[in-house]
Amino acid sequence: MSDLASVLPVPAYALPVQHRSRAEALHLRRMRGEASDEELMLRYGRGDARAFELLYRRHRLPLYRFLLRQVGNAATAEELFQDLWMRVVNSRGRYEPRAKFTSWVYAIAHNRLMDFYRGNGRASFLSHEESESVLEDLPAAEIAADLRLDRKRAVERLLAALGELPDAQREAFLLQQEGELSIEQIAAATGVGPETAKSRVRYAVAKLRASLGKES
C-alpha cells in the first residue's frame, strides 16, 4: 500500500481483504445483500449451523488478533479464542439483537480477558485509570516522514509500541481498530464510562503516534 492510499480515496473492493476496515466490509455486505451479523446469530440460534460458520468467518481474524495482541502469547490466545467462541455457541438461545453483534462478542472477549488477568495476577489492567488532564499534557506527535514512506518499519514500530501500552489502553485501541467499535461501544464492552473509554483511546493513540514520530 503506497502512501497515496492515505491521501486518495481507494474503493473498498480494491483493497486487500486484510486492509479493509470493518465499515467497508459491512458496506460491501449490504451491497451484496448478505445477512447482518445479528441475523446470522439469530439464525444460528434457530439451529442454522451454516449461519454460524458465516459469522465465524467474518470475525475470526479480528477477534484472534485482538486476543493475541492483548495476551502476547499464541497458545493462550488460542485458548481464549476457542473459549470465546464456545461462549458464543452456548449463548445462541439467549442472544437478543439489542446491540451490535460486535459489541456483544467483544464484551465477551473483554470478560474472558479479565478472567485471564485475574488468574495471572495482572492487576494493572484493573487499577489503571487515565485522566483527561494527563491526556491533555501529551504532545501531539507527528509521524516521521521516513516512516510514512517505509511502511514496514512503521508497522513494526507500531506493533512494538502497542505491546508496551497498558492493558486497558491497548484494549481500547484494539477494540477500535479490530472491532470497529465506537467510544460508546468500547465503554459498554469494557464496562467503563464513555469518558474513560475515550481517554483510553486517545491516550493509546497519542502514545503510538509518539512512537512513530521518534527516530530510531
Partner: protein, 287 residues
Amino acid sequence: MIERRDEELSHIYREAEGPRPPQRVDDNILAASQRVAGTVRRPAVFVFSRRWGKPVALAATVLVTSTLALMVFERQSGVDTVAPPVPRAGRPAKVAPQEPKRTESSPAEPPRAVSLQKSPSVDLPRAAPAPAAPSPQAAPRSDRVQQHTVETALSGERRGTGQPARLPAIPRGVEILRRSEEVKPVPDAQRAFDAQQQIPPAQAPPATAPAAEAGGIREPGLAPQRAGAVGGVASRVVVPEAKERTPEKWLEDIRRLKTEGKATEVERELAEFKKRHPDYILPEDLR
C-alpha cells in the same frame, strides 16, 4: 470517532501481517457449533414428534388393536351368520341371528324369497356322511344357496296357515331329493344341537313374534315340529327353495309338472299354492 490522524495510524496498523488462528482451532469451533446446533435446537417438526411421539404411538396402538379386535369379532359374527359351524360333540353351535327374522315376515311377500336366497343364514350345512362334518364353506356356494331344510319348509307352512305345528305336506323338492337319494344322516353333534334348541311348547311365542323377541335364536317351536314331522334322519332332508319360491316360479314348476303329465302332483301343488297365496289369480292354463 476516528480522527484524521487516527485514520493514518489505522492504515499503518492494518498493514501489519495479521496472525491467523490455527486450522485445528477453526475445526474445533465449527464442529462444536454444528454439533450443538444439530442436537439442541431442532426443527419444529422434530420437537413436535419428540413431544407427541409416544402419546400418538400409544393411541395408534390402541386404535389398531381395538380395530383389529372389532374386525375379528365382526368376522366371527359374520361367519356365524353366513353358516353356523357344525357343532362338535358336546358343544352347541352358535345360532344364526338372521334366521328368526325370516320367520316373522309375511309369507306372501315375493321379495322375501329372493332375500332368503341371498341370505347366508339359510345355509345350513349339508350333512355329510363322514363323522367330521365338513365346513360350510367347503360346500359349493350355489348348492348351499339353493338349499333349505325341511325345517324351513315347516316354518313357512306354519306361518302361512297359522296352524299349530303339524306334519306338512311333503313338498315336491323333498320327493325329488328322495328320488335322488340325497338324504344324508345328521351327525350326532347336530342332533345334540337340535335337542338343545328345543323349547317347551308352553314357552313358545306365537309364530308372528317380532324378531326382537326371537333374539337371534332359532324359531321356537320349530324343533318339535321337526322332530315330530320328519324325525331323525328325515328332519335334515334338504329341500330346494321349498315354499320360499315366488308365485311365478312356483307356477312355472307346476306347469312343468303338468307338461310332464304328473297330474297328482300338479293338483297337490296347486292346492298348496292356493293355500299359500289365496289372493293370487291363477293363470288360465292352471285353473
